[in-house]
């Protein structure tokens, strides 16, 4: 346990080694929130307007909630794994008495803690300058389920990254391509980080609900807003945890096969 605590500390300090890089990334997050905020603010400009099941207060809470949920779920170091594989550097780790999976999970958590601190600052800054109406969830059950769904989302995203990271075992040149397709395109659109998925037709929503993507951002925020209750809430949690099991199994199988096929190019 102590060695992972040390990994956590070193990884946390490492984030400060590239301060400008980190700050620039957070600045980019603010700019992205600006676009989404003003887009929805314009659509809900008229007081009392209800659209796609949201009023102005709830939609702007969704936008502000994105700051925290994205910092929790999508900030990750595990995307560097594919580079380690394609450069052959993974060999150094495999020879050490440490679980490679737990090593990156620890580094991920370290990154999330730092991003969360900055997200809190950005939230306050944007809240002061934009002054949006905010929906505070008062039901403790929803808050607990919201936190549980965030934990599930963190694990889901981590497993998804580890599966995508395994591509260079077979095709070293395709590491970034796989990330581009899955994390930049599919996750951005299908997780609800750009827009709430309930603006889509119900048929598309029903299909999406059986994929892991909505459970990364959209589902936790829906739980916080109290828009998913009763049996639907239960169903969402079951699907979310089912995906964790499926992806855990897939990840293990893929990595077993990948390590056998791996020729450690670059080493």
């Amino acid at each position: 346990m102590n060695k992972y605590l040390q990994v956590f500390k070193i990884s946390f300090q490492q984030e400060f080694a590239y301060r400008i890089s980190f700050i620039m990334w957070r600045v980019r997050n603010i700019l992205q929130i600006f676009v989404v905020f003003f887009l929805w603010d314009t659509i809900f400009y008229f007081q009392g307007r209800e659209l796609f099941g949201y009023d102005r207060e709830k939609i702007l809470t969704y936008v502000f909630g994105l700051i925290f949920v994205k910092a929790f779920v999508l900030s990750s170091r595990a995307q560097d794994v594919s580079g380690e594989i394609s450069r052959g550097e993974i060999i150094n780790h495999l020879l050490k008495p440490i679980s490679y999976f737990k090593y990156w999970l620890t580094r991920d958590l370290s990154s999330k803690v730092l991003n969360l601190v900055f997200a809190a600052g950005e939230f306050s800054f944007l809240y002061i300058i934009l002054k949006p109406p905010f929906y505070f969830q008062s039901n403790p059950l929803y808050i607990v389920v919201f936190l549980v769904s965030i934990c599930a989302a963190i694990l889901t995203y981590f497993l998804l990254l580890f599966i995508v990271d395994s591509i260079p075992f077979w095709a070293p040149e395709m590491g970034w391509g796989g990330h581009f397709l899955v994390t930049v395109i599919l996750v951005e659109f299908l997780s609800g980080s750009l827009f709430p998925l309930d603006i889509l037709p119900i048929t598309i929503q029903n299909v999406l609900n059986f994929t892991p993507f909505p459970y990364l951002i959209f589902f936790p925020l829906q739980v916080y807003l109290g828009k998913i209750t009763g049996i639907l809430l239960f169903k969402g949690l079951v699907i979310s945890f089912a995906w964790i099991l499926v992806m855990w199994y897939l990840m293990k199988r893929i990595w077993e096969k990948g390590l056998k096929a791996y020729q450690a190019y670059g080493r």
Partner: protein, 270 residues
Amino acid sequence: MADKLRNSTRRLNYYLRIWLVMNKNAFMMVLAQKKVLVIFLTGKIIRFAFYIAFLFFLVKGAGSLAGYNSTQAIFFFLSFLIIDTTSQFLFREVYRFRSYVVNGDFDLILAKPVSPLFRVLLGGADVIDLITLPPLFFATIYVGGLLSPSLAEVCIYLLLLVSGFLITTAFHIIVISFGIITLEVDHTIMIYRDLSSMGRFPIDIYKEPLKSILTYFIPVALMMSFPAKGLMGLVGPLGIIISVGISVAALIISLRFWEYALKQYTSASS
């Protein structure tokens, strides 16, 4: 006068030939990795389809977006893509510029009998963006046609597109100039892209003072929104003059900044 014209033509041909050679090499490098090409191309097509679907369902549900209907909103997005994709196609080398400075390879570029700005700005066109441009042009012409513009409005649209393109060129020159001084390119270019992506939607969605900042200070509105507004007959003569004036001024300022940055280059990495 005739001599000057002949010299200019010869110089233009010289640079055109160099551009063709450089980009033939860049294309061959990408085409050598066909699987990567297919993945990135697929990703770009999916992203395009997702955005169009998002805008369509959003405006269909909301009735309008800042007063624009779904066809107009999609046309704003397509015009944004025309400028964005064309600049990415031509200026992809900017994304690789940092390594030239950090590794000292920039010295080799400076030593050659070619404008270094031309080399680092236009030296590595992106074949993936080239493939996506023709369908994008057709889509823009088709959706633009649905708005029934007059010939004058089409001419204004094209003029404002050129003006927008000059601004994006100026931004890229400023980014590489910063790269020489600070060694930071990767995040600066991504911040530029985040800023320019604010023009993905009509600029009217932003409130003051942000709207004015995005129009006059960081001219994202002039670059991305004005051309589409021009086609819809929403830009008057003063707007056209301001747009062209600011784009020319931005280009001149960026070229001056580039000259200043070059003087700061110490060749420390070589």
